[in-house]
């Protein structure tokens, strides 16, 4: 038996690597997560109202979904102003997340932190492109300022509480948010234009994504939709049922479980048999957006120009296109949300009067659909917790993409590092 390990993989929070095992027959490719922070165990025994701050370690969006779950535990309806602040924060998180991913993509073949003088810079990379990259991160910094205003802290927000948010915005912040929204809007137009002018260029790969089901939350009625690769609905259900519809499987070679749809059953990730698997995220949302009866969003025109227009056979490029499409969509929404009339109101939060034994919430996060379910005892101490995060749901897809890249690489033995680079870029938009 011979093993080849491709590690570390860039841009993946947490420890991920690809192991290729050559035994008799075809090589076996595994996408391994080599670490586990035991987040469920960490939450057991904690007071339930502390979970939004603890779970933000998974991603800032988990702070939001955890607070939504608390709304359900405490049976409380957030005030309209708080809802707007939450939504504004959520959109900001989308912007930060998606812009970072684009930055990673554009710098994937160079060292973004090289401080070469201009003449020494990678000549393959025109300097205006380099300038755009730096601009992306400067706008991430701006978006983070917005998320600090809205969420208290940027990477681990603190301000979303059951029934609302923990404070009013201070006076100077309204103008500042407006300013940030305008700046981000003009920048999004710039990115959009650059991308539709085929600025993606050589960074993209036309690796076709296997015909795998997708799961997303309908923006119209909040139902969860399971769609096949053609966009046809296989199943729709209320979000509350998600932990009944979805099960988890633990394979012996990785610390991260795989989630799968119970009805279709589980089989280990295999590009020739994708039946049990599904994925979530921008591309999944885009698939559902295109197939829904409502008119196609204007932002989708961007998608059609970068990568495949054929939604039925999406490529890695389409997944990046979905990121850009969502980026532009988010910017138009923050222009409406970052406004004084949306972010002011008589009350920031409703105080809960009762406590139920359990609570549930799901939402679309930048990474994809996420859901929490808590069971608490009479004093509000967490007794049982279920968390559905995007990484677990995309675990199977990522594994299959790695398999496919390895399978299609003729240079694997000669130049594993080139294969690693291709895997990294193919995994990046998920």
């Amino acid at each position: 038996m011979r093993r080849t390990i491709l590690e570390p993989l860039r841009w993946l929070g947490g420890f991920a690597r690809v192991m290729v095992i050559h035994e008799d027959g075809a090589p076996q490719t595994l996408f391994q997560i080599t670490n586990n922070i035991h987040i469920q165990e960490t939450c057991l025994g904690r007071p339930v109202e502390e979970l939004p701050r603890i779970l933000s370690i998974l991603s800032p969006a988990h702070h939001l979904v955890s607070a939504l779950t608390l709304d359900s535990v405490f049976n409380v309806t957030p005030t309209p102003m708080a809802v707007n602040i939450r939504n504004a924060l959520s959109e900001t998180l989308f912007l930060i997340h998606h812009m970072r991913k684009l930055y990673f993509l554009f710098t994937s073949e160079s060292n973004p932190l090289d401080d070469f003088t201009l003449s020494q810079r990678n000549t393959n990379q025109p300097s205006h492109e380099r300038e755009l990259m730096d601009q992306i991160m400067r706008h991430v910094v701006l978006a983070q300022e917005a998320s600090r205003i809205l969420g208290g802290r940027s990477d681990h927000p603190v301000s979303i509480v059951p029934g609302g948010v923990s404070r009013f915005l201070k006076e100077p912040y309204y103008d500042r948010l407006d300013e940030i929204a305008a700046k981000l809007a003009s920048f999004a137009v710039k990115i959009g234009g650059w991308v539709s002018g085929n600025g993606f260029g050589r960074q993209l790969q036309n690796l076709e994504i296997m015909p795998i089901n997708s799961l997303s939350m309908s923006p119209h009625n909040g139902e969860i939709e399971l769609r096949d690769s053609g966009g046809k609905i296989i199943d729709t259900f209320r979000p509350e049922l998600i932990f009944e519809k979805i099960a988890f499987s633990v394979e012996p070679w990785t610390y991260q479980p795989f989630s799968f749809v119970k009805a279709t059953g589980w089989n280990a990730p295999d590009i020739d048999n994708v039946a049990g698997s599904y994925f979530v995220g921008p591309l999944a949302r885009l698939r559902s957006n295109i197939q829904s009866n409502t008119p196609v969003d204007p932002e989708l025109s961007v998608f059609s120009t970068c990568g495949s227009t054929d939604v039925e056979a999406p490529t890695i490029s389409s997944a990046f296109g979905a990121l850009v499409a969502e980026l532009i969509g988010s910017v138009s929404r923050i222009r409406r949300l970052f406004r004084r009339d949306a972010l002011t109101g008589p009350s920031i939060r409703s105080i809960p009067g009762e406590m139920k034994q359990s609570g549930f919430a799901a939402m679309e996060s930048p990474e994809g659909l996420i859901a929490h379910h808590y069971k608490v005892d009479g004093r509000g101490i967490v007794e049982e917790i279920q968390i559905l995060d995007a990484a677990t749901q995309n675990n199977a897809l990522k594994c299959m993409i790695a398999q496919k890249v390895v399978k299609e690489s003729t240079d694997f033995d000669r130049d594993p590092k080139a294969v690693k680079l291709r895997i990294e870029k193919a995994l990046l938009p998920f």
């Binding site: 469920q40 502390e50 509480v161 923990s166 070679w253």
Partner: protein, 333 residues
């Protein structure tokens, strides 16, 4: 003057610390103007061999706690190839949030990592408990916070990298640092080993809320009341750990209406954050009647998970396995 060499690594944690580093590169003065980042797996995909190739680096910025055998080996390897080591974030400084799972250990059946099947697949073994890098190797400096605030982190990195060379940068960095550290770096020498790049007093010193009299009759959980703005949260009956926690954050959580949970760790004068909080909170009880006192005390939940939220592995005297002989947990030097 040759550029300094920098390595950046995260053991077990989340990407927030590394993202903060990336952000300050754009938000403030570029990290790389006098530095080459030679090892950064998250952004550059650097392999371990790179470290050997470049020889010892001048500064290693380490985030994350030690959860697996691989983390342990990584920390040891980084130590042996770095002149200075700066732990950033609560995980690397104190063990952080991931260590909390040791508190409820045994509540669920088994840990996924405990299986033996990892052999064929080379999965790194789980350590029996989560610990901080400073419990394994010697760490020179600390910048706590979850994640660390940009100003402090930037100042820490600049003062360690530009020492004795770039006077304007040092002066700027020093203006944001605690006096003792600022004095060292402006004089051109390294701060005392074990120094913490954060404030010296408690969070209360920088918290914008006014404190009057710390007596309250009832304790509330954060979802139960909407605390008045501008008034000390503890006085309003909400557990806030500001008085046991090192300042440096500028009171950002309390300013946002959320109580402090101690991500900067304890102050120098505090022996154990839990003991300090027990003492401080108890002193606010009005009653002298044992029955009443017991009732008030019973209304508190999960003291350990709250008081040691970020520090269980190192600063909780009853949990830190080697509290007496650890290499140099912050404050013990």
């Amino acid at each position: 003057m040759p550029k300094k060499k920098l390595a950046i690594y995260t053991a077990t944690g989340c990407p927030a610390c590394e993202n903060t580093l990336l952000d300050i590169n754009y938000d403030m003065v570029s990290l790389t103007s006098n530095t080459d980042i030679v090892f950064w797996p998250y952004l550059q995909g650097s392999e371990w061999e790179t470290l050997d190739e470049y020889g010892p680096v001048d500064l290693c910025i380490l985030a994350g706690a030690v959860r697996t055998e691989a983390d342990r080996n990584a920390v040891i390897r980084l130590r042996s190839s770095s002149r200075l080591m700066l732990a950033i974030g609560s995980c690397a400084c104190f063990g952080g949030l991931p260590a909390l799972c040791d508190l409820s250990a045994g509540m669920s059946d088994s840990r996924p990592g405990d299986t033996d099947s990892g052999n064929k697949y080379l999965l790194p073994k789980m350590e029996p408990t989560v610990c901080a890098p400073c419990q394994i190797v010697n760490i020179d400096y600390f910048t706590p916070g979850c994640p660390p605030t940009r100003d402090l982190l930037w100042s820490a990195i600049q003062s360690l990298l530009s020492l004795g060379a770039n006077t304007p940068k040092i002066a700027f960095a020093a203006s944001r640092l605690p006096q003792a550290i600022a004095d060292s770096v402006t004089a051109g020498i390294l701060p005392r080993p074990g120094s913490i790049f954060a404030g010296e007093k408690a969070v209360c010193a920088t918290c914008s809320r006014t404190k009057e009299e710390k007596k309250f009759d009832a304790f509330f959980r954060t979802h139960q009341i909407d605390p008045a703005s501008g008034r000390c949260l503890l006085e309003q009956g909400i557990l806030c750990q500001g008085l046991a926690t090192r300042e440096g954050c500028g009171g950002i959580c309390t300013a946002a209406g959320a109580p402090c949970r101690g991500c900067f760790g304890r102050t120098e004068k505090v022996f154990d954050p839990g003991a300090k909080m027990v003492s401080a909170v108890s002193s606010t009880f009005n009653s002298t009647d044992p029955k009443e006192l017991k009732n008030v005390a019973d209304s508190f939940v999960d003291l350990a998970g709250t008081f040691y939220r970020y520090t269980l592995a190192t600063q909780c005297a009853l949990m830190a396995p080697n509290s007496e002989d650890s290499n140099n947990a912050p404050d013990n030097s």
